[in-house]
């Protein structure tokens, strides 16, 4: 058992909103489920320096969530202080994957280089899908808050778009489909926005209110926090066949799969039909949600990793 003196740092740049939510979720689960470790969400360099100065010997390890320069500086400081870091390796498929996501060549080269630096100065690599275990030391599923506002989306006929309007998420197609759906009384809704807010609380409220969430990708991707967040809120999604959690979402009747090459009219008709004939999610949904990115996932995957690092430190 880990002694009470230990601290785990969760490092994330404050402007990486999606990852900050995940970092905060880890801190939340850790502080609730671990008796002898204190989890701290660290955003600024001054926060980190203050913790290192006061409690260096108590720090068990850290987890770095993003590839920003500020997080890299923190990882470097931790490395020089001989504190182990787990680098969360979001995109282990290399530069080709980044280019296939329509990222620019410059961005792809710079971010691949940043990944190499993070890997050099980190003790472990964690991946978000079990299939990538050969590229990392641990499989650690991303965590999301389990406590969510009650569903309140009956007859509100809103299809939500969460996150930035990146090309690979086909915002133009979304707009075209919505212009057809308007005839049937449906409306488009964007988060973050002036209307729906910018905070995590506002996001959870948004997810509980929309009828469906749009997350159609044009090319394969490792994992989308939008899918996970909507699933945790029990909100159905419109997805492409590239979705890695296809099986799970199908099992709970929470997904409509469309192809970006389908005519817009067909996509809109299928959305209407899906919502009209939507079946109830299966009884196992709460358990699957918890295992997917909630407390069960923490206990099954994250806790043993901290125990292992503790044993090594001892």
């Amino acid at each position: 058992m880990i002694e009470s003196k230990y601290i785990v740092l969760s490092l994330c740049h404050k402007k990486k909103y999606g990852l900050s939510d995940i970092s905060e979720a880890l801190v939340g689960y850790g502080n609730t489920l671990e008796k002898h470790i204190r989890f701290i969400h660290v955003q600024t360099l001054s926060e980190l320096l203050a913790i290192i100065t006061k409690h260096k010997s108590k720090i068990l390890c850290s987890i770095s969530w993003d590839n920003s320069r500020s997080t890299f500086t923190k990882v470097l400081i931790l490395y020089l202080s001989r504190i182990k870091n787990i680098y969360y390796y979001h995109e282990p498929m290399g530069i080709r994957y980044k280019l296939s996501m329509k990222a620019s060549l410059t961005y792809s080269i710079i971010s691949s280089f940043a990944e190499i630096l993070f890997k050099i100065f980190s003790s472990y690599k964690a991946v978000s899908l079990e299939v990538f275990l050969n590229k990392g030391n641990f499989y650690l599923p991303l965590l999301y808050d389990e406590v969510r506002p009650k569903k309140n989306n009956k007859n509100n006929k809103t299809i939500g778009f969460v996150g930035f309007k990146k090309k690979e998420r086909l915002p133009r197609l979304y707009e075209d489909v919505m212009s057809i759906l308007k005839r049937d009384g449906y409306k488009a809704a964007y988060f973050p926005s002036e209307q729906y807010g910018f905070t995590k609380k506002a996001k959870l409220k948004f997810l509980s209110e929309v009828s469906m969430v749009w997350n159609v990708f044009v090319s394969p991707y490792t994992q989308s926090a939008v899918t996970a967040d909507a699933f945790m809120s029990n909100t159905p999604l419109i997805l492409s066949n590239h979705e890695p959690f296809k099986k799970l979402l199908k099992k709970h009747n929470l997904a409509l799969f469309v192809s970006p090459n389908d005519p817009k009219e067909i996509i809109s008709r299928r959305i209407v039909k899906f919502l009209e004939t939507q079946k109830n999610p299966s009884k196992n949904l709460p358990k699957d949600i918890s295992m997917f990115g909630g407390s069960e996932a923490y206990l099954k995957y994250w806790q043993p990793v901290f125990n292992k690092i503790f044993m090594e430190k001892k």
Binding site: H242, P260, P263
Partner: protein, 218 residues
Amino acid sequence: MRKIIIGKNSNLYKEFKKEFDEIFDLAISHKDLHNFVIKKTDIYFILSYGQSEKEMSQLLSEVIKIKQNNVILLSTTAIIVSKYSKCYAYPKLKMMQENFFSAKMSNFIIYRVGTVLRKNNLYHNRGTCVLNSDLFFRTLKKLLSGEFVCQVVEEYEFVRIEKNTLESIIYFIYTVTIRLFYKFPCVLRPIDLILKILNYRWYGYGALSLKLLRENKV
């Protein structure tokens, strides 16, 4: 319940008449629809398409008569090309047909396929989207007995060009070039002509659609 083909003069029907006749009760031309007695329970499989926009509009004005029936429209995987360019007539016309179905028909399936060929002829269309006729008829039977919800079913395969041959080198250069000009593929039309003379079948939308589909491959 009658199963009826619309497109008895199409090359596909002529090539696979025996197989089609085993599944369908009747084959008519779209021109016959004018005087044809349509029953509510009829299921239609549409092979016909117009050779020009005018012809296509005429065809669609006939097809609207079976709006309430269960219908399967045969379409092409090459349609992906027309999302980016209007250079090629065939994908453009098929797109027009698909859009019409999506907007006007009630119970339909769009069945997008590569060029349907017998197994031993697949290599003829190497480097493009093809479909083994055995698989085509198996899926068709399944679709005919299934539910007619508006949806797109896509099926294709591809046969590689033999490696380290002159053709494979030309194919590689051509596909890289056409991918660069995928929004303006007509600039390669003069080269297409030379490839046609060389008796290659993969030039134009054949190679481009395969390239685009493989990039988005699920």
